[in-house]
Amino acid sequence: MTGAPPRDRPILSVRDLHLAIAGRGRHTPILRGASLDIAPSEVHGLVGESGAGKTMIGKAVLGIQPSPARISGGSVLFEGRDVTHLSERERRALMGRGMGLIPQDPMTSLNPAHRIGAQIADVLRLHLGMDRPAAGARALELLNEVHVRAPERVLRQYPHEISGGMRQRVLIAIAFACRPRLIVADEPTTALDVTVQRQVLALIKRMQAQEGASILFVTHDLGVVAKICDRVTVLHGGRVLETGETRRIVEAPEHDYTRALIAATPRHDRPGDLLRPVPEALTARLNAEALAYDAAHGSHG
């Protein structure tokens, strides 16, 4: 992409991030010193099982982690600026043109009470200062760009009147509306049918290439990672186990857990008895390492 900063300076740099859920005297660590860098125009996969903390990293980047979650150490540098301790007003100013989100569940992420057109136009008016007709016209353009069929009609429709795949296309249009530099995609295709998933992935990739945005792509599906990500970070228990080029991670994983995760991914082109669940001994070892980490870093929290 033209005008993109050189690749050596990351657009997003998560440094040694510690995050814990505190409450009722309990202190549950979620992220244990996680670090990752995303270059401009890079699609960066964040893989792990549930509870690994991958969604929490995405939320912490956007500054929308739930209230009992506290960042107890480390930093999130967006274009060199730490965004972990922004005021609400500063965070809001960063949204739209700085960052966007493609959420997991298209069925619940659009407001059922407002028309599709209004939900695309409102970000344009807020961040780009467009007036109502200009925002409406741009919303139509955006729907065309994300290949929504009969866009004029969809603008006037309510979310319940269109399919899940179509809603995810609308959410992608919203995420890219103000041309953000970074988009967090939080399991954006998990809720979709497989054929729709493929198209939505293609759409995300095309929009990303066209706009030159970076994407933090959170998913549990190594297949999706292999098809769309440039680099991958493997997360377990809030710790980064491995990070690297996608091809290297998929074809020559270094960490046992990455290898186990690949062996545990079902494939329709191989007999089923080749599937290997992640060995319990490995899971136990990783959990023990996480606890040992907590003991060594008791100062956090």
């Binding site: 099982e49 069929r149 049918d193 497989v194 054929t195 493929r198 293609a202 079902p266 329709h268």
Partner: protein, 526 residues
């Protein structure tokens, strides 16, 4: 399989009331969910049922364990027809077929301990005389699904998703059933929990000799658990057979689309780009049921088959277009004869105005003069063929495009031929007209996609139409070809090659076009 069948369904149909369309007074109108499903499961057999949302796979599972009562068809469990048994008479049988649900969170009572949940069916069916006996069995079941007895003291919300699904499995196998229907039981889980549950299912099958009907949207998951697979689309089974065979060479376009859509964990930079071409395809699919179709050349051959198949599949209205409607007898009240000669362009424009409700246009009319180029009348023959096969199709697309757009997009099926792809000697001019029509179809497709219209090119081999075709066997049944074309409309498929012959040739063309062309050239007589 014939020697022992545990569960057998034949022509299973299901309609449920559609409350969204309920009139102020009177019952809600029925909506057809399953359109005649045939399947058989032997003891210890595993059948995967694959489909996307709305395919009817969940309804099928529920009907097989008689949570729904089928509207028609037979449902034999262990040789006994259970399709219409009352709940009372079903109850003693229920222990033998169990269901595991998609969402363990909502299918487990949140206020009861795990041990009580697992013990419940034991008490209900009198399999445990005392509490101690029940507890002993529960502990054994928990161990069976790789949980510890301590898990029995917890409540469902204290468990992880994978653990909850194990509880669902433990409860389902508590009565030692002979058949378990598992509906999307790993879809909410991440890869590692999913792999554990899948491995557990494989173990249980082996150790307990369970028959398993495994419903999933994910073909990869089905492959790991099942021997056989059935692919569902809009309440029909479009393909059924051994996993290894179907996954290696899927016959139905929809199966192929499903397989192609799954991202395997192999790096493939072109994968995304290959999708982009077909981006609008899926969203352009439409239902044949309730459509208003127009079929040209409807009085004979494949056209006649189209009318019949459209009636079967619940089209609301069919304009049966033919050169002259004299002597034509409509097979059903939904069929409207329409005098239309596709070489009369003025008449096509009129027809487009008359039939403003068409949503599915089937350009079937075609002509084959069946003469070689050495014929004296070759030029006139070629012009006749072009006039019908090319200009007729073009004019129909041109005039009906706006009609389809006004009705929400719809679809066009252009009946072409394998000979659109490869020429056959002695009928070269015919093949030329068909090749031109294919080229036209591709151009029209891109143009009409923008308005939401799907354009399908159907390229069958020789069809048994008793219309004096000189083509070599095997001959395809016209109804099969018509069904394949309508399947493509429902699957959003753009190019299809129905039949073994066409299938083979298209693969051959993809592999080595020159070799196929040479082979076809060898049909020159003498």
């Amino acid at each position: 399989m014939a020697e022992s069948v545990l569960l057998e369904a034949a022509g299973l149909r299901l309609s449920l009331p559609d409350y969204s369309r309920k009139p102020p007074f009177g019952p809600a109108p029925p909506v057809d969910i399953l359109h005649g499903i045939d399947l058989a499961i032997a003891p210890g057999d595993t059948l995967g049922v694959v489909g996307e949302s709305g395919s009817g796979k969940t309804s099928l599972g529920r009907t097989l364990v008689r949570l729904h009562r089928p509207t028609a068809g037979r449902l034999l469990f262990d040789g006994r027809d259970i399709a219409n048994l009352t709940e009372e008479r079903l109850r003693p049988l229920r222990a033998q077929f169990q269901m595991i649900f998609q969402d363990p969170q909502s299918s487990l009572n949140p206020r009861r301990r795990v041990a009580d949940i697992v013990a419940q069916p034991l008490h209900l069916h009198g399999r445990a005389a005392t509490r101690a006996e029940a507890r002993r069995q529960v502990d054994a079941l928990l161990e069976r699904v790789a949980l510890r007895p301590a898990h029995g003291e917890r409540y469902p919300h204290e468990l992880s998703g994978g653990e909850r699904q194990r509880i669902g499995i433990a409860r389902a196998i508590a009565l030692r059933p002979r058949l378990v229907v598992a509906d999307e039981i790993v879809s909410g889980l991440d890869m590692s929990s999913q792999a554990q549950i899948l491995a557990l299912l494989r173990e249980l099958r082996r150790d307990l000799g369970l028959a398993l009907l495994f419903i999933s949207h994910d073909l990869s998951v089905v492959r790991t658990v099942c021997d056989r697979v059935m692919v569902m689309l809009n309440g029909r089974a479009v393909e059924q057979g051994e996993c290894a065979a179907i996954f290696a060479s899927p016959r139905h376009p929809y199966t192929r689309r499903l397989l192609n859509a799954i991202p395997l964990p192999d790096v493939d930079p072109g994968w995304v780009a290959r999708t982009a071409d077909n981006q609008l395809g899926e969203e352009l699919s439409m239902n044949v049921k309730d459509s208003v179709a127009l079929v040209t050349g409807a009085n004979r051959g494949v056209g006649e088959a189209f009318v019949r198949v459209l009636l079967d599949r619940g089209a609301a209205k069919i304009y049966a277009a033919m050169r002259s409607t004299d002597g034509y007898e409509a097979p059903d009240g939904r069929v409207r004869p329409l005098a239309l000669d596709v070489t009369d362009h003025g008449r096509i424009a009129e027809a487009a105005a008359e039939c403003g409700d068409v949503t599915l246009l089937i350009n079937n009319a075609g002509v084959n003069r069946n003469r070689p180029i050495s014929d004296d009348d070759a030029l006139r023959n070629a012009r006749d063929e072009m006039e019908v096969n090319y200009f007729g199709t073009m004019e129909m697309c041109r005039r009906f495009g706006p009609v389809l757009a006004a009705n929400g997009g719809g679809a066009i099926v252009n009946m072409l031929s394998l000979l659109s792809r490869v020429n056959l000697p002695m009928i070269g001019t015919y093949c030329g007209s068909k090749a031109a029509a294919l080229s036209l179809t591709q151009g029209v497709r891109a143009e009409l996609a923008a308005q939401g219209t799907l354009t399908v090119a159907v390229m069958p081999g020789a069809i048994n139409t008793r219309m004096g075709d000189m083509n070599p066997p095997p001959l395809e049944d016209p109804a099969d070809v018509a069904n394949a074309a309508l399947d493509a409309v429902e699957a959003g498929e753009e190019d299809i090659y129905p039949g073994v012959m066409a299938e083979g040739v298209s693969q051959g063309l993809a592999a080595d076009a020159k070799a196929v062309e040479k082979e076809f050239a060898a049909y020159l007589p003498g």
